[in-house]
């Protein structure tokens, strides 16, 4: 007998309860919640940097951040970079990027998260190897909570997707919070 069958048989032997369908999980939506306000609040609490939209020049805050950066990899059409990648780029070659600019698929107000799929990132390591990450997000794509988030189609379409909630962080030494652990040192967001 294979390991697989041995383990499954042992489990079947231990399980004797008849199958009853689980009832579906409620969405727990709150009444009168300002989703955008909540998103901004939690995103900032998680260590994200909120970029304000300039009325005349909406991308000004992004361009200001990039003004003195050396290697800029932008995979969004709205922002011009100087570091080209394709889906065939080697994942570890992205280590010398200072700023990456990407567009998130959606945001989650409850946790201040943004969802980056393999399509958004082009190469998955673009979300982690650059020193800083700038994210554009369509405000219409912000859902209320994680129940809404996991009801989205992305999880069934892509092989890789991650919720980013602020930049990488650690509090492993004496509980002191440090933003910029192994991944990006900062995560900035512009609603655009």
């Amino acid at each position: 007998m294979s390991n697989r069958d041995l383990i499954l048989n042992r489990i079947r032997h231990a399980c004797t309860v008849e199958y009853v369908e689980l009832s579906s999980v409620p969405f727990f939506h709150q009444k009168n919640l300002d989703i955008l306000d909540k998103f901004k609040k939690v995103f900032t609490e998680m260590g994200g940097e909120w970029l304000d939209k300039d009325l005349k020049n909406p991308l000004k805050a992004v361009n200001d951040k990039l003004a003195s950066a050396k290697n800029i990899c932008s995979v969004v059409s709205e922002v011009k970079g100087n570091y080209e990648i394709t889906s065939q780029s080697s994942p570890n070659s992205l280590h010398d990027i200072d700023f990456a600019v990407v567009r998130a698929s959606f945001g989650v107000a409850e946790t201040g998260s943004i969802c980056l799929t393999e399509k958004d990132l082009v190469v998955n390591t673009l979300g982690y190897l650059p020193q800083h990450l700038i994210v554009l997000l369509d405000p219409k794509e912000i859902v209320e909570n994680l129940h809404d988030a996991y009801a989205r189609p992305e999880w069934k379409i892509y092989h890789y997707a991650a919720l980013h909630s602020g930049p990488s962080a650690t509090a492993d030494i004496e509980g002191v919070l440090i933003r910029g652990a192994q991944g990006v040192r900062s995560l900035s967001l512009l609603l655009f």
């Binding site: 489990i11 280590h95 390591t125 909630s165 004496e174 991944g183």
Partner: protein, 489 residues
């Protein structure tokens, strides 16, 4: 910082780090002995206690922000129970969907097999360096040591886990592995192993040192390894929750991604994942979510490979044991440790076991009844662990049940046996009990300190015994009521 805190911090930075339980083959771990040494290191003990209690308070603050918190706990408990009742069914669905996405799926009966499968995959891919993110299952299987024995370099990429690896010490907590160390302790380790500046215990500097020294390994490694917090049967996906970004780096940079995960981690659907993600980090660290909640449903487009090893290692045996089955619901958040007065004041390494604290008391004897026979006694049975558990495991009840089971299996230590036998005789006979109580009170008043607080009396070792009343309740009742006929007053 107040003057007092400065003094405390000064003491902490100058105090020698207490080490964990003495491990001697299959000999029973003496948790109490290690805990006593931990308590003697007063500044470390205080820091540890404060840090974990702070996490507990943050958890409470998060809980109060969610009106449906208790409903979520009940849902999480129900989903886990349901999945465990139909575990074979959901594992088969997971396997089918994962394979359809191009993931290789393996089944391992025990730790040895898990390690052998992982090593074979790595050798087939000519792996010289493995970058690994934190995994309790990996710890449980001794995976890192097994892989290193094969001449493969293993780099732990989580900061806390890396500190522990470089110090040749096990992680002391499931979520914060180096929580028992001061920044000076870390600085000493990094000076010795990472060529860090001696005497520089600045926390930013230490974290930066690890980031900079780890990165070259991440960039050149042939293989990456992660654990799995959840397996979603419906989509065949592995979900990993981390804060440092190290799991995503480990899994996405090398060509090869290996996942080692316990079979109990499967959940039916994405809608259930939402319930657990809402609870996990709030319970663990008191943050709304981990910085990264990563979802791997298949290998990367650019020539990536993904291998998932499903590990049993006593889980199917536990599943058949009605008394202890609920332990399989655990999502490894560590909330029970953060709230436990024994854990906070004795340190995770005192348990000498992969799983420490309350959850460790009920999981560890399942792996080895003899070696971990003392652990279920490292509890006051206050039940706080069960109150904070996000999946409602009856931890304190199981701790008590383990005591009964261990007594029945002849796995009580000598002193516990002697004391229990004496107590058993006295408690079984009311007249003997009354005489003993009244004598004991009298005796306690006059016995010299050394007789009460001796080595056989394990109660006296940890506690001050109470002041003794002038007379027992029974004799007071008899004098005031029974003799005067006031019983019905």
């Amino acid at each position: 910082m107040s003057v007092n805190m400065n003094l405390n911090d000064d003491a902490l930075q100058h105090e020698t780090e207490p080490k964990g339980a003495i491990i001697n083959g299959n000999k029973p771990i003496d948790q109490l002995e290690a805990a006593n040494r931990f308590i003697l290191a007063q500044a470390h003990e205080k820091m540890h206690d404060n840090r974990l209690w702070d996490l507990r308070k943050k958890r409470d603050a998060q809980m109060h922000l969610i009106p449906e918190w208790e409903e979520l706990r009940q849902l999480a408990s129900d989903i886990k129970e349901h999945t465990l009742e139909h575990l074979a069914y959901y594992l088969e669905i997971f396997e089918k969907n994962a394979k359809a996405n191009g993931i290789h799926v393996y089944w391992a009966i025990d730790a040895e097999e898990c390690n052998a499968i992982a090593i074979k995959i790595m050798k087939d891919h000519k792996t010289r360096t493995l970058v690994k993110s934190k995994s309790m299952l990996g710890e449980e299987c001794g995976l890192r040591h097994a892989v290193e024995k094969e001449g493969i370099i293993v780099i732990e990429t989580d900061l806390g886990e890396r500190i522990q690896q470089l110090d040749n010490e096990d992680p002391s907590h499931v979520v914060v592995p180096a929580v028992h160390k001061s920044r000076t302790d870390v600085s000493r380790v990094f000076t010795k192993t990472l060529n860090a500046q001696a005497g520089n215990n600045d926390i930013h500097y230490l974290a930066e040192t690890q980031r900079e020294t780890n990165r070259p390994y991440i960039l050149k490694a042939e293989a990456g390894m992660t654990g799995g917090n959840f397996l979603v049967a419906e989509t065949g996906a592995v979900v990993v929750c981390t804060n440092e970004g190290n799991a995503d780096l480990s899994a996405n940079t090398p060509k090869l991604h290996i996942v080692t995960v316990g079979i109990e981690k499967v959940i039916p659907k994405l809608e259930h994942l939402a319930v657990f993600i809402r609870l996990l980090s709030r319970s663990a660290l008191g943050s709304p979510i981990t910085q990264y909640t990563s979802y791997f449903r298949g290998p990367r487009q650019q020539g990536g490979e993904m291998h998932v090893i499903l590990v049993d290692n006593t889980r199917s045996t536990r599943l058949a044991d009605k008394q202890f089955k609920a332990g399989l619901k655990c999502i490894r958040c560590g909330a029970c440790m953060n709230t436990c007065p024994v854990f906070r004041r004795s340190g995770g390494l005192s348990y000498g076991s992969t799983y420490a604290g309350p959850i460790g008391l009920i999981l560890s004897p399942g792996y080895n009844k003899h070696k971990f026979r003392n652990l279920p006694f490292a509890s006051t049975l206050n039940g706080s662990c069960a109150n904070v558990c996000p999946v409602k495991i009856n931890i304190h009840e199981q701790i008590f049940t383990w005591r009964v089971v261990l007594a029945e299996k002849g796995e009580l230590s000598f002193t516990k046996r002697v004391m229990m036998q004496a107590a058993g005789k006295i408690l079984a006979h009311p007249s003997l009990y009354r005489a003993a109580i009244s004598n004991a009170d009298r005796a306690l008043k006059y016995l010299p300190h050394f007789l009460v607080y001796n080595n056989l009396n394990t109660w006296g070792r940890q506690r001050d015994l109470p002041f003794t009343p002038k007379e027992t309740f029974h004799s007071w009742y008899e004098r005031n009521y029974m003799k005067k006929g006031k019983v019905h007053e």
